[in-house]
Structure formats: structure tokens, C-alpha cells
Amino acid sequence: MTLTSSAPPTAGAAPEAARGRRPAAVRTLLRNRLAVVALAFLAVLLVAAVFAPLIAPDDPNAQDLLMRLTPPAWQHGGSGAHLLGTDQLGRDMLSRVVYGTRVSLLVGAGAALLAGVIGTVVGLAAGYFGGWPDRVLMRLADVQLAFPSILLALAIVGFFGSGLWYVILVLGITGWVSYARVVRSEVMSLRSRDFVTEARAIGVTDVAIMRRHLLPNVMAPLATIGTLHIAAAIVAEASLSYLGLGVPKETVTWGSMLADGQLYLGTSWWVAVFPGIALMLTSLAVNITGDALRDVADPKAYRR
């Protein structure tokens, strides 16, 4: 985890201090048993996503119309060949749920990374320079917030066409505001500190100050927001796919599986329930991890 850089703000850019705190932060994180379970679950998901072809018993798109809507193995009429049953086209549910992890994790991580980069740059610039750049950038943030991001995503994906990269791009571009706001307020409280003014006095350039002295000090809140944003992006991608506007039909996603499953709720609950559980547990695990990171980074919030 990026936790390693939760250097105490007082230390400025003292690397020894940052390294000295690392075990303590990790220890605090590991003391939170729920967070450990969540991290373990996320590790399993990552393995499932990377090694999906080896883990999935079947091709997720292989249709077997004779076996359509087979119940899970433990139910009456279930078959050992399809542990979690099959969907309306006879495709193996387990394989589809396993393959679905790929899109979810890729979109979550990709969108959070893109939004994080944009938001950090904007926040650093706004907080460090202040004045009119700050006012313009923060007004821009207000406009972005007023535009419901799911709606922007809907409009862009709906008009420009569906595709994994479009989804990542849209969710990344619409998600930068919370990063920018947090980075800005941290930077504003740091910029008049001695280690920054001294660096400026000896002629360190603005960009170098931001990169070497300010950025390391905002990594801890960034890690928290980034983690929580991953969960939000995963849910947003599933929402778009549920509406039929996310990724193309052949790509296996939990959202589109839920949309299919809703049509067969009356007879075949498993088509909707398994991707739904996968989606909920993933989002829950990422959120628990994010909360735990915040508790480590901000002990004041932890006491609440």
C-alpha cells in the first residue's frame, strides 16, 4: 500500500522519519481485523482477475443452450459441471463471475489512478500558487461537481460508443474533484512552513518544491481517497453496464450480468444474485480498506 509515505507533516521531507513510521502504520492497519479480512479478499480477487483463464472452469462466453438456466450444483436440478449454475444462454455463472473481476478491478484502479493524477496536479497548483489560479480551478471544481458524473458518463458513453477505455477515461476525468480539494487544503497549510519557505529561499524551483516537499506529505490522504474512489468507480462501471451503456456486450461484467439476471428473477435467482454478491463484497472490501487507511492516516477520525 502507498501507506508508506504517511510521513508526519512536521518531518517535512525527512526520509528517515518516514521510514521509521512505516512499521507502526502497517501494524495499526493489521490490528484492524476487518481490514485484514478485506485485504485478503482483495488479494483473492486480484489473483482471480489475473489468472481468470486458469481458474474459470469454462469459457465465460461459451453458450450451451441445452443447459440454459441450470440451477447451482447444490439445488435440485443442478449439475456438478456448473457449480453456480448457468444463465439464460447456458453460460457458466462461475466462469462469468471470475472473468467479471477483470473489468471491475481494471476500471476501479484505472479510474482512481487517472483521477488521482489530475486531482493532485490541480490541487498542488491551486494550493501552492493561491490567487487567481486557485479561484479558477476551484470554480471549475464546482462546475464539475454540479454535473452528476454518472450522467456525464452516461452521455459520453451513450454518444461516443461503449468501450472499456472510454469508461475508465470518463470515470477518471469526472472523479478528480475530491482529490484536488484535499490536496489543496493540505498544501495551503504546508506552503508557509519553514521547510517550504527555506527551500524557496535557496532557489529551489516551484515544481521541485511541489514534487519533493509537498507531494510526499499529501500521499497519506491521497491513498485514502484513492482507495475509496476505487470502490466508487467499480460501482459506477457496474451501474453503466447495468444500464447497457458501459462496455461492449461480449465483455463480461457484473453490471450487465445483473441486468440480464433481473429479467429471470422470477424463476432463476442465481443469474442476478452471484454477480450482485461479488460486486457488493468487492465494493465493501475496498471501502473497509479505505476506512482503515484513513484511521491510520488520521488518528483523530479513528477515535470517533
Binding site: R139, S239, L258, W269, G276, L284
Partner: protein, 330 residues
């Protein structure tokens, strides 16, 4: 956001508080209104150019074997043969008169189409708001008062679940249990109270979680302050203290964040309407996007942005009602 609180005109000393207070508040309100209008203008511009950047709507509306003549006629009838700048200015001019153009799929003024769908969405939103307040406020108070104990942990677990669960999955689960399993409530449809229950609960799950969580942490802050200790020392019971002295002070941050969460709530409304085939503005938006009905898309996008802006304006103005210090400090 912060204009109301960030601009105390310090020059106005205690000597002449009244007139200065008036003009300070007026100025703050004007700044907020200006920002709101700017946001709406930006949204209108973005949605206008977005639907035009995404490809030629005429090509997408016509069958592939259409003749150049047919294409020309359609282009002219949609007003798309004019220069882009003229179209844009016309669009803005129309907005000033609440004229959003004619829907391509409904062949009706967009304003009428929107007005047809609005009551359903308002009904859903109002019901969800009631559910949110009825559940989240007592839950937040209870968690704050029983902080650290089993009740608190139980409520916070529920909050975590509610925040992590996408609205359409909540809706599908509710349909599975209450419609398919128990045959107690309809899975879709519109008109009766029974139709409203599941969509309202679905839409409120996320906001219940957000409000309960915030109210709890905000109350915990307030409960450790001096005036609460004074109230307790005067002999007020814990419940009465929270209700008369705690709640009002704790509501300020909650109201602020609700304003910011309106965006996710609107997104949730779109999904909820889709799950339950609810005939509201959210469904209309998805329809408009899939039909490439660009005047309707522009209008629905603006509608959602305007809702966000208005709610946040109200949130800012409510500060002075909730917190007398905001009123008297200027």
C-alpha cells in the same frame, strides 16, 4: 460553497452592526447566485457541444440507405444546417425562455415531455427523503449516544453496507425478497402506494447511510462541548439534551454534505427508476441517450444540474437559519 462563511467584512465593527449585516449577506447571496448561473451556463455549453461532438445525429437517425435529399431535409428540419455558433446562441436564447426545443423521439416540445415525467420523480424523491429522515436521524442519534457499544457498532456496520451497495443491486434484492419471494409488493409499476415502497427504500439506502454516519460523528463532536455539559449540569436528561441542544448544532455539517451528495443521489435516482421501470426523468434520460434525442438529452442534463445547483443554494442559505452566528457575524 464557502462564500457565505468566508467573507466576513471585518471593517464593520460592533458600532454599526445592522446595515453592514444586511449588505454583507446580500453580497454573499449575490455571489452565490452568480456562481450558480455560471455553473448552469457551463453545463449548458458542455452538454450542447458534447452531443454535437459525438457524431452527426442526422446520420444516426436515418437508415443507412437514405438519399442525400432525405438527409438534407432532415438536417434542415432539425436546424442542424445552420452554423454552429448560430445554433449555440439560439439554444441559449431558448433557454432564457425555458424553450428547450422539440424532442426528436416524442415530436413534442421538450418542456412538455419533461413536465410529464417530473411528478413521478418528485414523488420518488420526496418518499426517499422521508424514509431517509425517519431512519437516519434516530440511527445517527442512537449511535452517537451509545458510542463504542454494540448498538453503535451495529449501526455503523449497517452504514458501511449501505454505502457500499449499489442502488440497483439493493433494488434487485428487494424485488427478489418482497415481490418474487413473499408476493407482498409489486416489482414494478407506478400509481399506487404499494408501487412506491420498494423504489423509495432502494433510493434511500445510500442517503440513510451517509446521513446517519455524518450525524453521528457531528453529534459526537457537539456532545463534548461546553454548552452540552452545562445543560447536563442543569439537570437535563441525556435525550432532552441531545434533542434541544445537540441536534441543531450537529445538523450544519450534515446539511452541507447532503448538498454535495445530491449528485450521487440523482445518479441513484436514474438507476432506481430503471430497476423499477419508474416513469420519471431518470428513465427519460436513459431513453433520450439511447435514442440520440439530443434536445431531450441537453434538457435532462440541464435539469439534473439545475437541481444540484438549487439544492446547494438552499443549503448555503439554510446556514443562516441553522446557525445564528452566520447571520450576526457580518
Amino acid at each position: 460553497m464557502s462564500d457565505l462563511t468566508l467573507r466576513p467584512p471585518r471593517a464593520a465593527g460592533p458600532a454599526r452592526p445592522r446595515p453592514a449585516a444586511r449588505s454583507g449577506l446580500l453580497r454573499a447571496v449575490l455571489v452565490r447566485l452568480g456562481t450558480a448561473l455560471l455553473v448552469l451556463l457551463c453545463t449548458a455549453t458542455v452538454s450542447f457541444f458534447l452531443v454535437r461532438l459525438s457524431g452527426d445525429p442526422v446520420r444516426q437517425l436515418l437508415p443507412p440507405d437514405a438519399t442525400a435529399q432525405q438527409e438534407h431535409v432532415l438536417r434542415a428540419s432539425l436546424g442542424l444546417d445552420r452554423p454552429l455558433v448560430t445554433q449555440y446562441l439560439d439554444f441559449l436564447w431558448g433557454l432564457l425562455h425555458f424553450d428547450f426545443g422539440t424532442s426528436i423521439s416524442y415530436q413534442e416540445p421538450v418542456g412538455h415531455v419533461l413536465a410529464d415525467r417530473l411528478p413521478a420523480t418528485l414523488e420518488l424523491a420526496a418518499a426517499a427523503l422521508v424514509v431517509t429522515l425517519v431512519i437516519a436521524v434516530p440511527a445517527g442519534i442512537l449511535a452517537a449516544m451509545r458510542r463504542g457499544r454494540a448498538t453503535d457498532r451495529g449501526i455503523m456496520t449497517g452504514v458501511l453496507l449501505g454505502q457500499s451497495t449499489p442502488p440497483f443491486w439493493v433494488g434487485i434484492l428487494l424485488i427478489l425478497v418482497f415481490a418474487v419471494g413473499l408476493h407482498a409488493l409489486p416489482a414494478s409499476g407506478y400509481g399506487s402506494f404499494a408501487n412506491l415502497v420498494l423504489p423509495a427504500v432502494t433510493l434511500s439506502v445510500y442517503s440513510v447511510a451517509v446521513v446517519a454516519r455524518l450525524l453521528r460523528s457531528s453529534l459526537i463532536d457537539v456532545l463534548s462541548s461546553d454548552h452540552i455539559r452545562t445543560a447536563r449540569a442543569k439537570g437535563f436528561g441525556p435525550v432532552k439534551t441531545v434533542l434541544t441542544h445537540g441536534l441543531r448544532n450537529a445538523s450544519l455539517p450534515v446539511v452541507t454534505v447532503i448538498g454535495l451528495e445530491v449528485g450521487s443521489l440523482l445518479g441513484g435516482a436514474i438507476l432506481t427508476e430503471r430497476v423499477f421501470s419508474w416513469p420519471g426523468v431518470g428513465q427519460l434520460t436513459i431513453e433520450a441517450i439511447s435514442n440520440r434525442d439530443f434536445p431531450l438529452v441537453q434538457a435532462t442534463v440541464l435539469f439534473f444540474a439545475a437541481t444540484f445547483v438549487v439544492v446547494n443554494l438552499l443549503v448555503d442559505l439554510s446556514y443562516s437559519l441553522l446557525d445564528p452566528r452566520v447571520r450576526t457575524s457580518r
